[in-house]
Symmetry: C3
Subunit: 346 residues, 3 copies
Amino acid sequence: MVYRLSDLARVAGATLRGNGDKEIQGVAPLSRAGEREIAYCAASRYRAQISNCRAGALIVTAEDAEGLEHDILICADPRVAFARVANALCPVPVVTPGRHPSAVIAADSEIDPGASIGPCAVIETGAVIGAGASIGAGAFVGARTRVGARTRIEARVVIMHDCVIGEDCAISPGAVIGGEGFGYVRESDGHWLKVPQLGRVVIGNRVDIGANTTVDRGALGDTVIADGVKLDNLIQIAHNVKVGSDTAMAGCVGVAGSAVIGSRCLIAGGAGIMGHITIGDDVEVTAMSFLKNSVEGPGRFSSSLPATNADVWAKNVGRFRHIDELARRLRRAERAIKQLLSGGKP
Amino acid sequence: MVYRLSDLARVAGATLRGNGDKEIQGVAPLSRAGEREIAYCAASRYRAQISNCRAGALIVTAEDAEGLEHDILICADPRVAFARVANALCPVPVVTPGRHPSAVIAADSEIDPGASIGPCAVIETGAVIGAGASIGAGAFVGARTRVGARTRIEARVVIMHDCVIGEDCAISPGAVIGGEGFGYVRESDGHWLKVPQLGRVVIGNRVDIGANTTVDRGALGDTVIADGVKLDNLIQIAHNVKVGSDTAMAGCVGVAGSAVIGSRCLIAGGAGIMGHITIGDDVEVTAMSFLKNSVEGPGRFSSSLPATNADVWAKNVGRFRHIDELARRLRRAERAIKQLLSGGKP
Amino acid sequence: MVYRLSDLARVAGATLRGNGDKEIQGVAPLSRAGEREIAYCAASRYRAQISNCRAGALIVTAEDAEGLEHDILICADPRVAFARVANALCPVPVVTPGRHPSAVIAADSEIDPGASIGPCAVIETGAVIGAGASIGAGAFVGARTRVGARTRIEARVVIMHDCVIGEDCAISPGAVIGGEGFGYVRESDGHWLKVPQLGRVVIGNRVDIGANTTVDRGALGDTVIADGVKLDNLIQIAHNVKVGSDTAMAGCVGVAGSAVIGSRCLIAGGAGIMGHITIGDDVEVTAMSFLKNSVEGPGRFSSSLPATNADVWAKNVGRFRHIDELARRLRRAERAIKQLLSGGKP
């Protein structure tokens, strides 16, 4: 795509300073951008790179704009402006409708004529694929599952039967949606008895799901992922979890069964969310933390320990294992001091 | 399936009170169950929901049964009774024997006539698939691997060569069984030399394995998963691990190489198990904990920290990094107090 | 393969003692090795097993060699010698060139005549597959992606478009290379706006990647995995990460975006690496630790807590939540003691 700089200013919601007729056809980092490309400077610590930058245009804050001779777009948040410009210049490729001859498509599925079904994809009985949706190579869409318009299902994704995926979603390769929830009861002889997992996974619109992430179907009710949720790679969402709208989770997060997570939460990488708890809106959980109890939002919660020198750490861990004893000894010392201060003797 | 309530009482091992001829055809949660469905109340905190419940029948404890006008099944553990009833009313679909024409099946594999091979599945030379087993769409069964009777291999599962999967197992989509173990030695020039991984994965009967879980093959010996083990999603089982019968692990657990885990253990989500340790029978590890040393069972082990307000947490972490110094200062204070108490002066 | 023991001594870089003409055709553990097999004893704690060992030959240290009547190879590091011998006796099977008729291969891709393309594999437009490389069953190689000579891509691997995989790599089943990075900015209305992920994944030579591991493509620049890196299963490598040569990571590690990791690092299982930090060469991170800040190498870093009895643990965690208060109380006690020691009274 090629855009005039004045058009990009409009797309970005930014103020143009310089040659609005200049044609821009791509984005690049400050260090590599050429005269037909636009770059951005989001933080003043990168400001030094601007002087040598050969970009055709720059996106900067008003503060960083001072003294620059480049053609620039000025805005409050260059990262947002850049994302808008990049989406304009590098749009998601349009889907070419059609069915690859190697795909295995049930006769009674409903494939919109504007959808694309890739090689070796498998679409089972009663599945519904919306207009402009694409089903990647080797992906599997189970019986009666519905995939909304313009949703991209990438290669090797598995969506089991009776699930609902909204519109404008993107599901990355290897993700598994609608696998069996992990539900068992223990018989008196010690063996596990599987509890049938009869619910569905229901995913809203504009949801992104990362590579090899797993979202289990509900036991009796459904597992629900609301509109606008963004899940990174290798996340586990257990049965009956509810994730509120526009919540984002980074890689390797695990959410245990029946947890209810609010809207606009930010769950950082490697965090664990206990089962059966409720998390309010606008809650942040820091990386590698373990949210064990229900919390109200907004708020920021943490239990992670930053790594230090392993020898020092080992010493501290040894002390930690006796912290309860330490606290008791301190209490005794305080009592003795009180006694001494009051002039008493044992 | 349709059952008379008296038959369900027998299936559940529960006592019937009410109309044994009533026909029940499904299960549902208390809040949604209709007159042809059965629901259960496992904990008294849900007792309030019963009064409005329109279920055709309920499964309750003797205590919760008092005063109810519903047709009910009375038992000690409603969760177990419900699981039995649900398995009767919602059985796993029977496999339709046959081979999809798009499957790629080695001529010298042994596929039982009662097995089902899905579209785009690949079965390699010498593989053996038992009666009533199903191989899902796009699944891969490597050379000489044996899959037992009635075992369900879901879509896109990969089982590499020379592995053994028992009977009545269920392997969820995307799981990888028998990948190469992570075995290397460092050459004197600093490069890694791969150690050939020559063992197998041997999985017993009634084992369930979750979506995108990985179980590596052994280096010289085998990786062994005993009868009745249940593994959730996104679990890593490294080479030469042994997991004892009826042990269950929740999502995102990692088990390092050559760990030996006993029977009936419960490993909660996100826990890590150190390599080369031995864990006794009936050991529990709490969520997000790190079991670093061998332990005998029974016992419950933990090292997880529950998240709290991030600012408070940061302060505590800062202190933790000086806990060794804190302990030393306390020791000095105690000595000084002792001296003071004995009337001494420095 | 069959080797004379004298040839294996040469391969191993070890000193032969005994019958160099003996023919050896396999490897086995001490406990099971037969007369045509070679075993090794890496640590003196296994020394007791040697007396009953029926192996045709043994690899031992000079110390452990004393008094043995077996034919032996003596060396400083039996594990390295064994790995060399095992690679000779059990070589990786040679690839059989050819294209399975069920594979879907773009007409304008470049497949070396010496490469092997498995059943149901999909190779997209402009992809390049090198000599002796193998693409496993159902694997996906995206448009313009290059796979180097002798690299093994196992079943169900997904490599998205425009990536580069070097020579002599091994990518285990289910791994996803080049999925979209997790890059979003928040619009003023609270919705997430995707930032196009325009970079690639560039992987060097002799890189191994584990089952179901994910490596995201870069946002503007590339995600880079240098020569000789070894990644275990279920690892997440986020966009724009750089991993230095010969670094090894065990299972379930998560590396957040733009982290730069040095050469020859050892990241143990379940560890988390913060985004945008820099890690020097020869850094070790212990299992389940969270490296939050940049560190220089060499060095060993830890923040993991070993699990203990859950009741004791709960008590210590309770104290930990008041450690800041504990530290303040200790400070007050110290002041009071100082005052008392100097003879003062309040």
